[in-house]
Amino acid sequence: MSARSDALAEKRELAGEGVGAGWFRLQHKAAPYLFVAPFLILFLCFGLWPILKSLILAVYATNGPKSAVFVGLANFRFLMADPDFHTAVRNTLVFTCWSIFFQLPCALGLALLLCARWVRARELFRLAFFSPNLLGQVFVGVLFSVLFVPQYGLLNHLLHALFGIALDTKWLSNPALVMPALVLTSLWMYVGFNMIYFLAALQAVDRDLYEAATVDGANGWHQFFAVTLPSIKPVAVFVLITSTLGSFQLFELPYIMLRNTAGPDNSGLTVVMYLYNTGFITGDLGYASAVGWTLALGMLVVSLVQLKLTRAMKGVGD
């Protein structure tokens, strides 16, 4: 094999001065530009340009592109004072917290259950846990809006039989229960998805570390904190940040589950839904852009904080 390629290299060398070599060098030089070009063109037109455009829009009040009135920072001022926006931010943050502090630990727990070497049919379990994610937010929303039906719905019958909750518990029209319903639904949908990451990370942990820890006399909990957590930390940070960003963009699930509304007393209103309502229902694209940029800024800040915090934790762990 190597002898053959040497021979070919020689041949190439010999032909070095010919037309072929010129073409070869040229295509080598041009290749990266040509490879990036198709994507870059699309990206500039359909990714970057609308972003810049929305930056401009954010300082206008509009009624469609035809009649825009320059309002400066008034959009942002109104936003900060608007109780609906506060509700949207609060709901989004609450949902995000549930995702981080409830759903991710559940995912990690499932992964820990599955990662033991003696567990049989692991692939089957993994498949079962992951399968809800395949449905997608729209179809999950449709399905759960029916499962949460009061009096006749599956969930109420189940919970009634198990915990004796009232059969006519109205998950989706009682403002106090909408968020729990959303959290449960997203737990069902995403816990298996995040588990996959944790499981892969757990399986990649160096077995020797455990053995060393066992020799040192570490018990289960010690092992978990001394070996497991530090080993899976890169993955954990990745999962943490992606699911935070995902939670910040929550839209379809509540929108479909609550029949294209924000739910009773805006209990299912999220920031993106607020953006959609102001931009595409009320018709103020400028205001919607202001909301969008506020959201983008919030996402940036939160993920930077998360990165910083987790980095600080590394200092402690080391």
Partner: protein, 275 residues
């Protein structure tokens, strides 16, 4: 070493927990399957299956609702989007992983910066743009903006970085053109990542809701999510058909997932585990 009694009990608890979690994951899907077999008036009369099974919901789905058309629309839009995404992203990801060229740093920074911006921010100006180039209410109006996957670029860049440079050098010495290297060497060794990417892209495009809802006007061009969502509104609630449609709609994703499960898990987590 044989497990002792305590360990056996522990295993029993773990299996019990796993079984419960499995039941929780499967039951709603089981209910969905059952719901599609009930008559329209019996949906809430029986918890799971009714004594009388009927394919009525499916029959009405195909006769009173343009389900086949929606399915074809979804398949075409999703399939095309995934293939275009795959080709462009892997090509650019390859360039960003294995070449040094002017502007590379700036391009990557720019992409990274836009990744932070939620897609909903750009919907209004994007609609305007799509309108200007005359693509409203067309398949292209969905496919083209959908083909821009910055996420895909970084996914491919990361995986192609693992490909040893020697492999590329050897190929160059063999006289392979750069595109040939991409096509014959880099892509075949990136197959796990491609599998994962196909599934992620497929699911993303298949389940896309808001953008098609804004872009598409003709019912004949509706994709499955927006077509089916129409079955339940203020004036009518066709839950039986909706459930049947939902079940059929998720089948392609399930099949794809079953085929790609291994690659998906490996590819999806490779970046995260190493990153």
């Amino acid at each position: 070493m044989r497990p002792n009694a305590l360990q056996l009990a522990g295993r029993g608890v773990v299996y019990l927990a796993l079984a419960l979690a499995t039941a929780a994951a499967i039951t709603p899907v089981l209910w969905l399957v059952a719901a599609t077999t009930k008559g329209p008036d019996d949906l809430f009369h029986y918890t799971f299956f009714a004594p009388r099974l009927t394919a009525d919901s499916y029959r009405r789905l195909f006769t009173t609702f343009p389900f086949l058309r929606c399915l074809m629309n979804s398949l075409f839009i999703t399939g095309t989007t995934v293939i275009v995404q795959l080709f462009f992203s892997s090509l650019a990801g390859f360039a960003l992983a294995k070449y040094e060229f002017r502007g590379k740093k700036q391009v990557m920074l720019l992409m990274l910066a836009t990744m932070m911006i939620p897609g909903q921010v750009v919907m209004a100006p994007l609609y305007e743009l799509i309108y200007r180039i005359g693509l409203v209410d067309s398949y292209l109006g969905l496919i083209i903006p959908g083909a821009v996957s910055v996420f895909g670029i970084f996914l491919f860049r990361q995986s192609i970085l693992q490909v040893p440079d020697e492999l590329l050098h050897a190929a160059r010495i063999d006289g392979c053109s750069e595109f040939r290297i991409y096509w014959d060497i880099v892509m075949p060794v990136s197959k796990p990542m491609i599998g994962a990417f196909c599934l992620i892209g497929f699911m993303g495009s298949w389940n896309n809701f808001l953008w098609p809802q804004i872009i598409l006007h003709h019912q004949e061009r509706f994709t499955l999510p927006i077509g089916l969502n129409r079955l339940v509104d203020l004036y009518q609630q066709q839950y039986g058909m909706l459930m049947a449609g939902t079940l059929l709609s998720v089948l392609p994703v399930v099949i794809l997932f079953l085929a790609l499960q291994r690659e998906f898990v490996a590819g999806l987590t490779a970046g995260a585990v190493k990153g």
